[in-house]
Amino acid sequence: MSAPNANAIVKKHASSGEKRGAGIIILEIVAILIFVLFMLPFLLVILNSAKTSKDIIISPISWPSDWTLIWKNIVTTLRKLPPPITWAHLSTPPSSQCSP
């Protein structure tokens, strides 16, 4: 009596294992989709950092035509940064800092 029951359990687990295989593929597809959804805004930031301001407005989701622009944009941004604050800035009275 116990042997057929044991076989039935083994068969049941074997079939559920096959089903789980299909289930895992579905889960993997879901995981990839969620991952893409989570990364999409960052991808857009990278894509648009290799475009001119005009190109970003015209087509925000298109592929950049010239990837070297990314370096030019980074250099432009770094050049716009204010000079680092030094001890001299802090110790100089504000009135003398404002003079041209």
Partner: protein
């Protein structure tokens, strides 16, 4: 024993002094300012009692912000926890590269709300507009009907990964033998999740619900950068900002040099947040005991 007391005092003093000066003293001073007519500039203060509190409850903007904050908090508690829980099930399943996905889902939480707000503002106003994901021809953050939902979607995107991590830790703490026993007994996956996993994760739910409640209620950075409080709408015959949450309303009041009024709002904000949080923790702890 007396000498030991002095040593203890010396060790505790720096921390206690900092706590008193940075938290307790400004808090008490804030309550005092809330009962004056201080505008941030004048050096003399006049005692006005509860006038600031009475005024705030007659302001359409404050009342609307209060209701919007409650709605925003309720939406976020559901969305963030649901997304976080489902993602944790995914990240603890037998999916290949689950650690990679875990890290990917957590990344939005590593970037500050200010930067994310500006990124998503661009996505809503340019990208979604380009692909036609709009409501009545306008960006989702430009319509009062959709702006709260848009903000909630961004908050869920940012915060679900963090909540997922708490759930993942809790799922991993469940002994394998329990899940295997349920499997052998023929329990389906849904039965195992609802009847075994979730009751055993009760303490994690207490923490995540508390975190989502307080963080959604205190939301400021995302609100400030993504919508700036807009778009405008009419409420109680006044023009108000439709997505201005309570924290941002306090900031806006402060920016208009009504310091005492802003302080009174902050006191009410604090009381409401504490009451809600305590009720939530009390109810969850009771559930934990039942589980």
């Amino acid at each position: 024993l007396k000498r030991r007391g002095w040593v203890d005092f010396l060790f505790i003093f720096p921390c206690a002094f900092a706590f008193l000066m940075v938290i307790i003293f400004p808090f008490i001073l804030g309550i005092y300012y809330a009962m004056t007519d201080w505008n941030g500039v004048r050096s003399t203060l006049n005692w006005v009692g509860f006038d600031n509190f009475k005024t705030m409850f007659s302001q359409p903007q404050f009342l609307y912000s209060f209701l919007t904050t409650l709605m925003y908090t309720a939406i976020n508690i559901v969305l963030v926890n649901l997304a976080g829980f489902l993602m944790s099930l995914l990240a603890t399943s037998r999916v290949k590269g689950r650690n990679f996905y875990r890290a990917g889902f957590f990344i939005p939480n590593l970037i500050g709300g200010i930067v994310l707000g500006y990124i998503w503002q661009f996505v809503f106003n340019n990208v979604f507009y380009d692909i036609g994901l709009v409501y009545m021809g306008q960006s989702l953050i430009a319509r009062k009907e959709t702006v709260i939902w848009a903000m909630s979607a961004v908050n869920t995107w940012q915060y679900a990964g963090y909540i997922m991590m708490i759930y993942v830790a809790s799922i991993q703490a469940i002994p394998d033998s329990v899940m295997e026993a349920a499997n052998v007994d023929g329990a389906s996956y849904t039965t195992r999740v609802f009847k075994i996993m979730m009751p055993m994760m009760a303490s994690a739910f207490t923490i995540t619900l508390f975190l989502t409640l307080t963080n959604s209620f205190k939301q400021f950075d995302l609100n400030f950068t993504l919508t700036g409080g807009g778009p405008s709408m009419r409420f109680m015959d006044r023009v108000i900002q439709s997505s201005q949450l309570l924290a941002m309303d306090i900031y806006a009041t402060n920016q208009s040099n009504q310091m005492a009024q802003a302080q009174a709002k902050a006191v009410v904000f604090f009381i409401v947040l504490v009451v809600f949080s305590l009720v939530q923790v009390y109810l969850n702890k009771r559930k934990e005991v039942e589980a």
